[in-house]
Amino acid sequence: MEIVLQNLTKKFPGRGRKNHQEVIAVSDFSFKIPDGMLIGLLGPSGCGKSTTLNLISGLQKPTSGKIFFGADDVTDLQPENRGIGLVFQNYALYPHLTVRQNILFPLENLKGKDKLSKQVMMEKAQEAAKLVQIEELMDRKPGELSGGQQQRVAIARALVKMPRVLLLDEPLSNLDARLRLQTREEIRRIQRETGITTIFVTHDQEEAMSISDMIVVMNAGVVQQIGKPQEVYDNPENLFVAKFLGTPPINVFEGRIEGHKLYIGADAVLDIFAPGKSGEASETDVAPDKRKGPGNGEVYVGVRPEGFSLEETGPLCCVFGGVEVMGRDITVISAHSACQSPKIRAIISADYRKGIERLYSADGFADKSHIRFSLLPEKVFLFDKMTGKRIAFAASMEKGKGN
């Protein structure tokens, strides 16, 4: 079922004397969700993602805007008439009913011509249980199940009526790390098997990136970016998206562009050109407000942790802080006065292990308290200081100035 959100806005009126200001939870959200997709609604807590989900489910009414399921306008329909399955963050399994009774509950509500015989209901419940692999738990109470099993029961209960749309509110937040990995695969599998358009809400970017067909990044009620997970990661449209996606997070420096060179502190780290004209010099300084490519001025420089490469003669000189070995990768921790956070995290793949070893060896860097990096241009993003919008650029690596 294709879902269309049209200029969806939800405002909560201010309450009381202290916070009389109206809260805009969702602002002008337009999005067309293709049929059969798994969509991750992603954002920090309080960004309006759960409200969006509640609007789609019908538990809350939008202030303005419309919601379509396929060709049907469901904006004014009650939740029970929308044909949705909803899995709550705390699962909301009825604790006094057994797993079977919980799964049967939505079916028993059917009235009139939709009413099912006991036999059919049992079959449907069994089918749903089989899909989420909890058939052997049917006679237990929710309290006797583990978190992961409860989650499955909740999904089975949401699926048993064969909804047109499946909505999951923070489906993995109550599970431990190992179970989370397993369950998210499970959600992916169930979604593929049923082909039901599924929207899930999460604040965990890894979760969203790993299983979604598309992610929607939200902040403060406003959609920041929509796209395939890898595209959004590789091409963040603004500083917020860049900061929000990726673990460890992107390193943000205060930088400036001067004469086609990108400076971080006193270090010229990259040669900068207007986009599409890689290698050529761009037209000289355009007024900052009119420039399309990067002109001179202050910018934020975001560098992904994997965008650093360790080189003895690299242009970016940082204060060496230590090394974290995380199994496959090595994280080099360092500091730079222009960096917004006190620690710069650079992930160095196994190829560079030698380099790290040299750090410790006697013939390594002359000055052991400092470390030098060169930056990979495709992992470096420039952002406007005022708006946080991405500034497109092309670059070539600044060759080291020597030691």
Partner: protein, 302 residues
Amino acid sequence: MGGKKSGHGGAKAWLYLLPALLFLGAFMVYPLFDVFVYSFEEGYHSASQTYFGIGAYNYSYVLHDTYFLQAVKNTLILVVITVPLSTGIALLISVGLSSITPLRNLFQTIYFLPYVTNTLAVGLVFMVLFKKTAYSDGLINLILTWFGGTAVDFIDGPYWAKMFVLCFYTIWVVMPFKILILTSALASVNQQYYNAARVDGTSRFRTFTRITLPMISPMIFYLIITGFIGAFKAYSDVVALFGTNLNAAGMNTIVGYVYDMLYGDSGGYPSYASAAAIILFFIVLTITCVNLIFSKKNIHYT
């Protein structure tokens, strides 16, 4: 370390417990035990502190005393009528209260007022409502006659009228506490269950019977148990309504009978009083046990 010192620590613990244990022993355990002993001492005389022998005569006397049988009958009627009715009405009012938003606090306060009002003051109000005096027939009778009924003397009149007043009064008095407990129980049911039920298209009635009721069943059960015990202990309310000569009014309760046997005009018989008290104890014990057995099947603790 804990293991080594446990003997020592045990002695210390008892020392710390001693004040509480002393008072509990002196004012609870000993009197309970004493009542039990009294109830088997035949012909005990409180002035001389002597008795003839030991046996079950006190029980036999009490169980053959028409006043006691009347008291048991009154108490049972009171219990059977007021406990289910007050709990049911309190549930209805609580559900109503939790589904309205404007004026909820005002209504909650109004419903809670009887709880903080003095029993005797309430008794006086009921007098005004129900009692026939030289000047008026009471408010209720006034209304009754307006609608073409005949005035009934609720305080000194027929048995059913008196019982009606007593039950009405008891329900009115116990209601606030029940409403208080039930509204907070209703408020503590996680909204997510209702949302889940809504999404699944559950009718309001089914939501109430299949979700709300089981969720608050421990609280309802608590109210029923304490309701039973409270109703069996009824005494002061009856005095407030019908005065101290309850046997004459035919409105005595078991506790009233015990009191009369001790201090009333026909009093001075601690043995009979003790026997009656022990009988009351066993009635309450039986009912509570039945309740507990019933609850095992039907109450859902989460």
